[in-house]
Symmetry: C2
Subunit: 305 residues, 2 copies
Amino acid sequence: VVVVLAGGTGGAKLARGMLDVVGGDELVVIANTGDDVHVHGVHVSPDPDLVTYSLADVIDARGWGIEGDTWRVMDALEAAGRPSWFRLGDRDLAMCLIRTELLRRGGRLTDAHAEVVRALGVTARVLPMADDPVETFVRSGGEWRPFQEFMILERGAQPEGVELRGVEAARPVPEALDAIARADAIVIGPSNPVISIGPILAVPGMRDALAAAPAAVVAVSPFVGGHAIKGPTEAFCRMAGLPSGIGAVEHAYAGVIDGVIADERSDSLPTLETGVLMDTSAARANLARSALEFSRALTAGRARR
Amino acid sequence: VVVVLAGGTGGAKLARGMLDVVGGDELVVIANTGDDVHVHGVHVSPDPDLVTYSLADVIDARGWGIEGDTWRVMDALEAAGRPSWFRLGDRDLAMCLIRTELLRRGGRLTDAHAEVVRALGVTARVLPMADDPVETFVRSGGEWRPFQEFMILERGAQPEGVELRGVEAARPVPEALDAIARADAIVIGPSNPVISIGPILAVPGMRDALAAAPAAVVAVSPFVGGHAIKGPTEAFCRMAGLPSGIGAVEHAYAGVIDGVIADERSDSLPTLETGVLMDTSAARANLARSALEFSRALTAGRARR
């Protein structure tokens, strides 16, 4: 089993590359659910769905939602004067309905995600970090907002603080702990260390589980040439008092990771120096293979000590 | 204020006719919510929506759903292997999402319906009989099924029993009681007396409120030439031990109604003998006007006594 921790786009791309390398039966992705949001009465899980749609090769080029989706329901909601800041395509909504229905019947978020994954014919597992609700809130302009509202309505605003509401009471899903304990490689994807991977690591018990894992944990840096490719990664690192570039990875994941994969060298950790831009399917598979081999090499080295 | 009690198609048509006669500001429809069902994670209210779509002139010719609707979400759910016995068009689903979202936030069903009504530009009020859940179950072949499952999956089966689960704990919505108390005419639409109007009258307090209303209550018979126009009305009347034709109306509404509108004469109640087939918009408006005038005449007669 290979475990990938994923937030948004970067983690999803790495997971898709890893699918090429190890196949669906061996791949377990643990995804951030701090961005989950209820819109139009349905439970939307932006990060896990981004991962699932990427694994199913149906992710839209815009970076979210399903390729070639239509907007009939959204248009009707807009015509009815409903808030339309959060857009859901028709097929995307169908996946959210599958999840919402299962949750309504009292099912676990883990099982609800499994239904969506199955619906899209994906054999890999996509696990939420926790079945319990964790809500990432961001402060900007002195006001706290749920993460999606901040990202969509306050696009470009400077974040001033982050709260992971409910995280103290959350627990990692048993399937995630089991996969971590059995994994022969664990890779943290190149997602935002503060608001994408951060919530996963903040679930009580998750850091300990990763630290105690037999497999070495390696992190792929989200920085290319010292800068984040897109999104508010740099702004959030600044806010969190993290240095820029590889230093952010070292600090954010201290005590959890055994090595870093980046296009720059770490002073404190074993580094696999390589390009981390996943601009083609070959590049993402190559990066996944490198990360896998690096984790295995570090695990082997550890066993020899 | 004019109050119309409505179940499915017949009641909805009469309500639409009444809209022509008295206008939206004066019309209050009390609709059966015993058929409400959760499908694909959303709260579907077949009877109230049928009424609302009829009032908005967007009802599809098939008798449910919105005219010219598309099926993108339904197709995606079907492709994902989800049960597809209950069909929801995309615009229809959007209305259900509006309701579901409001209920999820802890809102009353009354307010959720009001949002749907407003979304479609209808000025009349469409009230659920109760904010509390009431679930109509039907037994056939020895097995109890929720009403929609019986109607769609067991189409044509002989009903053996009806249960209104939850009805003892339900209460009429205050807006309905208020409208009944203030109405200058109250009309029971030509819907199924057992499973459409029956649940409304079974809500504790509803019969008393109607009996105590200053306005005379008149019922439009759902029988044309002694037979129901469509649907399982006759089968349900037989099951309930009701005579066929106008006798079913007399018995089912005994103690509540002051008069009957039918194409046959009642032995026990004042009757307005007239055609009750609403096959054109003129016919439904004429029938609504007749019902209104008959109720007012009976009220006036009552005042003189």
